[in-house]
Symmetry: C2
Subunit: 232 residues, 2 copies
């Protein structure tokens, strides 16, 4: 599916709430909207629009319960990373569950994080499950797919310090976040890759009080961001 | 499915990691284990054991990718809630996504929370998706399904103060948690029910810095618990 998305540089957004939010964005150009007669959203005049039946929508929808409307959207133009604009950049190394990526983006947006940079091996942002679980935050976050080793070196050259979340680092509750922080979150099963580990200035750990071996990567990201905002 | 689980008071645990952890528990009695020839776990001698083929396992498994073993387990005996033993009791009001419930239990266990009490309308603990996403924490947490209004009144009679997470409360970062806290988390779409709202001593809110309208209930639970532990 990703192959076809990349080939056509088009992805799909579904459901009344997400599509209505899409209409309010300027960064995303809509190629076409397919909707059932009961859809009441304000479709921009310039958009190709097709009224279809419920059963036609069921055939083209990827949702278990299709919800009145499906939009086909053009990939946004790549944005240059402006390091100067940000105090915390979130770096995702090989996160491979789409629900986790969507939840991370939703939570990053809640905490006002502007830029998320993911390794090319991270699950595709335009995966429909990512879009759905982000609850629209994909429209607001600047998301990049870049080689993370290069990105980390650039961040360090721009006075960022790199923090990595793992199980043997400094207690999160005692961390003073530097003025410019690159926060690296590793994959669900393998953590942060060796090449990135070498670049990390400080490893941090969410203190553990019980016996569960690990936290979900989305959960860990949200917890760290909340303490970053509390300190900042 | 819940109907049959309740009728027989049996539920299913799947996969090498979760079943091996199950073998180390004493609170859960195993009714039977079905495994393929390649399963190498140490099945307790007293357990009815059946070797089956990969394709037989596929037929009885609820997983997309069955993983060598499936155990049928008896419901644990109900445990009396010992309020005195706990400083924070987590109360879940109508949480209805099994992935959210499993993640909440996994995260509660990480933070050493012993007791989770859910409204009868919360998704069933023995739902296979809850078991899987809890990563084995269901074995360690004491979980109760109780009427929450009664439970909250009992907690208050035992010197607990009730905190409720919503969007218009006191800034989490400025909250002093009382010595005994009952933390109420509401449903994904409807929040905390009106009857419970009336009992709450203090509403708390995770500060919002961006435009996303809400956090996932599991994420919000984990963030609040992490700040509770930081203060405590």
């Amino acid at each position: 599916m990703k192959k076809y998305r990349d080939l056509n540089r088009l992805f799909v957004v579904e459901g009344v709430k997400l599509v209505n939010e899409l209409f309010e964005q300027s960064a995303f150009k809509i190629d076409a909207v397919f909707h059932t007669p009961s859809f009441e959203g304000a479709i921009p005049g310039s958009v190709h629009t097709f009224q279809i039946t419920e059963s036609e929508l069921e055939r083209i929808s990827g949702l278990k319960n299709p919800n009145k409307v499906l939009a086909v959207v053009k990939y946004p133009a790549p944005v240059t990373i402006d390091y100067m604009e940000n105090n915390l950049v979130l770096l995702l190394d090989r996160v491979n569950d789409p629900g986790n990526l969507g939840t991370i983006i939703r939570t990053a947006d809640w905490f006002g994080i502007r830029q998320v940079i993911a390794s090319p091996s991270t699950v595709d942002l335009f995966n429909p499950k990512v879009i759905q679980s982000s609850m629209g935050a994909v429209y607001r976050i600047q998301y990049h797919r870049e080689d993370l080793v290069e990105t980390c070196q650039q961040l360090q050259a721009n006075d960022f310090q790199l923090m990595g979340a793992d199980l043997g680092g400094k207690n999160l509750y005692e961390v003073d976040f530097p003025a410019k922080t690159g926060l690296i979150m590793g994959s669900e099963s393998h953590g942060i890759s060796d090449e990135l580990q070498k670049l990390i200035d400080l490893s941090i750990t969410i203190p553990q009080f019980g016996q569960t071996e690990s936290l979900n990567v989305a959960m860990a990201s949200g917890i760290i961001l909340s303490h970053y905002k509390r300190n900042g």
